[in-house]
């Protein structure tokens, strides 16, 4: 029986990780790990995690990390990159921290073309706190704070599309999902390469699932994610869109 291949930059002592079984974060992080390995950048990468489930990644990798909250992982990344322009800075957050309480940080980072990479995992709920509605919750979605699914005429936040309005043309903005590992890895790689080569802002939203708060099993999660992809279109968000 073959042993699954794990990224070399994993911190082995932190595995198995603290993420729930079946959590999409593990897939996003695994892809990021392979990208860090491929690019050979583990020594010069700083990984800034945020609050909520993303903070569980504080010791996921054997690379320098800093953990904060409320989308401030982005602000710390800005300070880090300005202090250490040769380092590669990756901020990692959820849709609660990034699109709710810390949304303005993302907008201003994009506006200023900060040369950092932000990875935002969107599972449409506040997961760590038990599944309340997020800025990404879709119409009719049952959450702990929208128990009847009555989600009137609220529109979800479309992060990369929103950032496109303010970002530099050099910015790499994309949406992918944990159900397409090849695209996920490809976009994460491009997002980091864009930071290094073009000294530009990069943002990848990763559509993900949360079996616990969605109250769905694996196949139901996959199915629901496919539905979500009809609303949240994956792909590179170009200047023209």
């Amino acid at each position: 029986m073959s042993v699954p291949i794990m990224p070399k930059c994993y911190k082995k002592s932190s595995k198995p990780s603290n993420f729930c079984s079946g959590c999409g974060h593990s897939l996003a992080l695994k892809s990021l790990g392979f990208v860090i390995d491929d690019l050979g950048i583990s020594k010069k990468t700083v990984f800034a995690t945020d609050i909520g489930c993303s903070l569980l990644a504080w010791n996921f990798f054997d690379i320098d990390t800093i953990q904060s909250h409320h989308g401030r992982a982005g602000c710390i990344s800005v300070g880090l990159k300005r202090a250490m322009p040769k380092s590669i800075v990756v901020a990692y957050m959820g849709d609660g921290g990034g699109y709710s309480i810390g949304l303005h940080h993302l907008i201003h980072m994009a506006k200023r073309n900060e040369a950092v990479t932000v990875i935002l995992v969107n599972n449409t709920v506040f997961a760590m706190t038990g599944g309340q509605s997020a800025p990404t919750t879709i119409a009719g979605e049952n959450t702990e704070s929208t128990p009847d699914g009555a989600y009137t005429d609220d529109q979800p936040i479309f992060g990369p599309e929103l950032l496109r309005k303010v970002a530099s043309k050099k910015a790499f903005l994309a949406r992918t999902s944990v159900s397409d590992m090849a695209q996920l890895k490809n976009y994460l790689k491009r997002a980091i390469e864009n930071q290094v080569r073009n000294n530009a802002f990069s943002f990848v939203e990763v559509l993900s699932w949360c079996p616990v708060n969605w109250k769905k099993n694996a196949s139901e999660c996959e199915e629901y994610l496919l539905d979500l992809k009809k609303i949240y279109k994956t792909g590179v968000i170009s200047d023209e869109s």
Partner: protein
Amino acid sequence: MELEGEIKLLTGNEIIVMGARSAGAEAFYGYPITPTTEILTGWAKEAIKDKRLIFLQTEDEPAAGFGVIGSALGGKKAWAATAGVGHILMQDPLVVAEALRIPFVIYIGQRGGPSTGTVIYSQQELNLARLGGNGESTRLVLAPGNLQELFDFTIKAFDWAWRYRLPVILLGDGYLSKMTGIVDTTKPGKVHAAKPILQSGGAPVNLRNCYSLEDELAENLNKNLIDFAKISKEVEESEQIKCNDAKIVIFAWGTVAEAAKEAVKILRESGTKVGLFRPITLRPFGAASAKQAVRGASQILICESSFGQFGRLVTESLFGITGVKIERLYRPGEGIIAEEIVAKVQEII
């Protein structure tokens, strides 16, 4: 003081920027707010002159504070300045700096509150500066009273921040920020060197401030509290003026202490045995020195531009002292001049 060479009248805010430059500060992150905006614009001008300097006007105060944290992690002497409602927001990054032991320097130009209040002066941010975080507030707070101290303490703040890896708050006010005067900038104190906390070339560092278990957090907290007690002993500082034979000891800090100094001078000329205890560090507060200052006194007079924020600190520090009457001159959000203190002393004597 004897003056040589070029003499310039400088405002407090300009002096703070000069102090930061003398301390080797390399990065400033800020958001405009009266009365500290000229620190931000002053640094912006410095950054034009010296391309090595980092400057960013951020989208809000937390972004500024977390920018400071990021640059400090990268080994840069970083700082910020804010006031009032901005100070409230700045507590967010300050507590992270406490938890993760990140050097962090900030000047607070207190303004009147609550909320928007007035834009220039008060001493109402004392509680916030000393104890504003969720946790045990392991931060150092320095209280400059005049322009020379503004320069000297700015340098001291950078030294302490990097020596002890703690947030250091310079607690001033808009009077200090906006007044002009002559300052000797030729003898700046020595400042502890900065070095990267992340990307230092050693084994990977995983910094976190999230704990699943009470014991894990307690272990870290207790370590920091033991350190803080040790550091407190090293840095605690206060000034006593004519307390030896004083029957009345005035307690005041910052700008009010300057007025109190003048009041002591006036009262002594008429033979009134009055002294002044003035904390230089507000956190830690020199409780033993305060007790020592009132050893011969029958009365103390607490003067502050807030409503008992300082008074509570003083009376708590004097716990156990008996036979000393406590008088108060509280002017929340208003300045206090020497003549008012003189009149109050004459009234209570």
